[in-house]
């Protein structure tokens, strides 16, 4: 009995030891060196895996950061400057300060502004609807309202507004990952510079039709009249294809362009009310 035990223990010990020795050498031979800084960087990332940086996930972004010689092309939109400073510290590099961004849906074609001219009753996703029809209104450029952007958002930053017919971005929740930008088949969503107090002055329209056609389809369409372009002192506004565009990086929020717009296509948000036309403004704010 005791001999059997001894034999068993001895055999297993020999097998165990030899396997350990083999494994040791195999591990040495096929060792894959991984920079420990990758783990360290990854731990400081938000772990949202949203892909907003352009990489497959936070791990892939961490690998890219460690490989890079400077961080100017790399940015984690979710973490912002704070995260990038930490990453730079770990890697001993210089962090490049970047402006925070926020998504904006450039269509204000709510039910009141855009009359319906037909009814679509097919599959309710924007991707399918836009591949089959131009939309339920005469504006072929505007929001369809089926919420592909809402489905794409991992951060609950988009709300579907049945009362408006177009979704709205909740600025506080938006991390500017760009998932909605990809999802929108009408290319309505733009990542714009985030100003203090979420203030913004923006052309909420993508209609590239000629003025008359655009105006007929939607009361608040940009008609490309270029009045705002003339008004702007900072060259922030350009007109292309009958459509004005305000470059948020050049815009100084002077708000001179909004009053001259004949169709109210330029939206100003989160500003204190103007001195003139106080009543109108208040009404608008309560509607939001």
């Amino acid at each position: 009995m005791s001999i059997t035990v001894i034999y068993t223990v001895a055999t297993l010990s020999v097998i165990g030891t030899s396997a350990a020795v083999i494994l040791y050498f195999v591990a040495r031979k096929f060792n894959v060196y991984e920079d420990p800084r990758i783990d360290e960087v990854e731990q400081n990332l938000p772990a949202a895996n949203c892909g907003g940086c352009g990489y497959a996930g936070c791990r892939a972004f961490a690998e890219a950061c460690v490989k890079a010689n400077d961080l100017s092309d790399l940015d984690c939109p979710v973490g912002g400057n704070e995260t990038m400073n930490k990453v730079a510290e770990i890697l001993g590099l210089e962090a490049v300060k970047k402006d925070a961004r926020v998504a904006f849906i450039r269509c204000n074609g709510t039910c009141d502004h855009r009359p319906k001219t037909n009814i679509y009753d097919g599959a309710t996703t924007c991707a399918i609807a836009s591949s089959v029809y131009s939309g339920e209104t005469d504006c072929q450029w505007g929001c369809l309202g089926y919420g592909d952007c809402y489905d794409a958002c991992d951060f609950d930053a988009i709300e579907l507004r049945a009362d408006l017919g177009v979704p709205r971005i909740i600025d506080d929740m938006c991390v500017a990952c760009g998932a909605c930008v990809e999802a929108c088949p009408k290319d309505l969503i733009e990542l714009r510079k985030k100003f203090p107090k979420d203030r913004k002055v923006v052309v909420a329209c993508r209609n590239q039709d000629k003025g008359g056609v655009a105006r007929k389809a939607c009361a608040v369409a940009c008609i490309g009249c270029s009045k705002c372009e003339k008004e702007c002192k900072f060259d922030a506004i350009t007109i292309e294809n009958n459509l004005a565009f305000i470059d948020s990086d050049k815009c100084k929020l002077c708000r001179k362009c909004a009053p001259v717009c004949p169709t109210n296509a330029i939206i100003e948000e989160n500003f204190p009310p103007r001195k003139i036309k106080v009543e109108e403004k208040e009404e608008c704010n309560t509607a939001k």
Partner: protein
């Protein structure tokens, strides 16, 4: 036992309301909009400009590549402008607006009704004339006919199939054409046979048109090589691949063209257009359109100039019924609802169907219950429920493996689904995306 295709198929109610109505000529409207893209392939390039005077049959847009066709004016008058107008999808397409004045035809066109049987043209000359006359497949897909008649190198057709199936419910334009232009279709068939250099042509007709079968069988006896086959009624027998399978028993391989099994298919309407194009020098600028619907006061078959607004056709059939829900260009299975009544008739418009509100509403869709009815009715043998899910989840590499590109978009799956799932909507979307992926891979 009548012939039919093997796999799948459905039996929607036929509703051929206008089958007893002779073809009437609709006079040219006050103004037309003729799109430059009325066919599969590259859009034609406009060759007229504002203020030009045009005659009926004059070329207004030239074919821009091999897979493209000429567009001819369907009316005489003054070109108002060359501009964009929304098509049935609501997206603007380029075209020529013409204000109609009189009805002056170009001199080359022979406007007599006399039947002209004899021709002494070679195959190449016929193909060239078909190309010049802007003839496309009039069954609905509008593929340029001259392209079909030139088989790729190393392939040879041995049989021409003439499609007189008209399996779409409601539509009767091909039926009426077969009854009223019987000999013209047979001569057109002979011209196509000569162009293809084949000895044999078969006209396939579904058994719900016994008068057409009888008439064509009788008349075809004097034409060498042409025979008529009666087919069992089943949708989508009018699909190219289904017709080949029904008549010859051959199966077109996945991803292949009908020519791969030695067959070329043309519609009866196309055969008639070929007759007119070659024997009468008349380019394709008008076609027979069925205007129908349960609430329409007088469903009819009209000979309509291309470019005529849909509203004019509806007026001719007794006006828009009060409880209309949808206006569909084409048949109820494969046609598409149009977003505006200004949408013009094009070469591919086989019918205008006015559906009542109740009829046209889609029911709310619920979860898939895995009954696999869509699989059993698919004439290609695909798994529509799977293709829909893959499109929904945007897994396009797997949908390609599941042969999404072989889908003929007949809609049998959506028609038969007990959960009212929009299978075809999703499959079409997936097909578009997979097509893009395949094209980008080739580059």
């Amino acid at each position: 036992m009548l012939k039919t295709f093997k796999k799948g198929g459905v039996h929607p109610p036929e509703n051929k309301l206008s089958s007893g109505k002779p073809i009437e000529v609709l006079p040219p409207p006050a103004s037309v909009f003729i799109p430059v893209a009325q066919h599969i392939g590259a859009p034609a390039t406009p060759v007229v400009s504002r203020g030009d005077t045009v005659k009926v049959g004059q070329i207004i847009a030239k074919s821009s590549s091999f897979v493209s066709t000429n567009i001819h004016s369907s009316v005489s008058g003054k070109v108002k402008k060359v501009d964009f107008q929304a098509d049935s999808s609501g997206y603007p397409k380029q075209g020529v607006f013409i204000d109609v004045a009189g009805d002056e035809w170009i001199d080359e066109i022979d406007r007599s009704d006399e039947l002209k049987k004899e021709f002494e043209l070679s195959g190449e000359e016929i193909v060239r004339k078909i190309q010049d006359a802007g003839i496309v497949g009039l069954g609905g897909a509008t593929f340029p006919t001259h392209v079909k008649l030139v088989p790729p190198k190393g392939m040879k057709a041995d049989v021409l199939l003439i499609n007189g199936v008209e399996c779409e419910p409601y539509l009767t334009s091909d039926h009426r054409l077969m009854l009223e232009k019987t000999e013209e279709i047979l001569v057109g068939t002979q011209l196509l046979m000569k162009a293809l250099n084949v000895e044999k042509a078969v006209i396939g007709i579904e058994n719900n048109k016994p008068d057409a079968i009888q008439l064509l069988t009788e008349k075809s006896k004097t034409y060498q090589g042409i025979s008529v086959v009666a087919l069992k009624v089943k949708y989508p027998q009018g699909g190219e691949k289904q017709l080949i399978n029904a008549v010859t028993g051959r199966e077109v391989p996945s991803g292949g063209l009908p020519i791969a099994v030695g067959a070329v298919v043309s519609n009866v309407g196309t055969a008639f257009a070929v007759y007119e194009g070659i024997q009468k020098n008349k380019p394709l600028f008008e076609r027979v359109v069925t205007i129908t619907g349960k609430a329409v006061s007088s469903p009819s078959n009209l000979l309509v100039r291309v470019g005529t607004p849909t509203s004019v056709l509806i007026e001719a059939a007794g006006g828009l019924p009060e409880n209309s829900g949808k206006v569909i260009s084409g048949g109820p299975m494969m046609g598409r609802a149009i977003a505006s009544l200004d949408v013009p008739v094009t070469k591919g418009t086989s019918g205008i169907l006015l559906m009542e509100k109740e009829q046209s509403k889609r029911k709310e869709y619920i979860a898939c219950i895995r009954c696999s009815r869509c699989v059993s009715v698919c004439p290609i043998g695909l798994e529509p429920y799977l293709l829909m899910t893959l499109s929904e989840k945007q897994i396009f590499d797997q949908s390609e493996d599941a042969k999404i590109m072989d889908c003929i978009e007949c809609g049998s799956c959506s028609y038969t689904c007990p959960s009212n799932r929009p299978l075809l909507d999703y499959i079409r979307f997936g097909k578009g995306k997979v097509g893009q992926i395949i094209r980008s891979r080739k580059k």
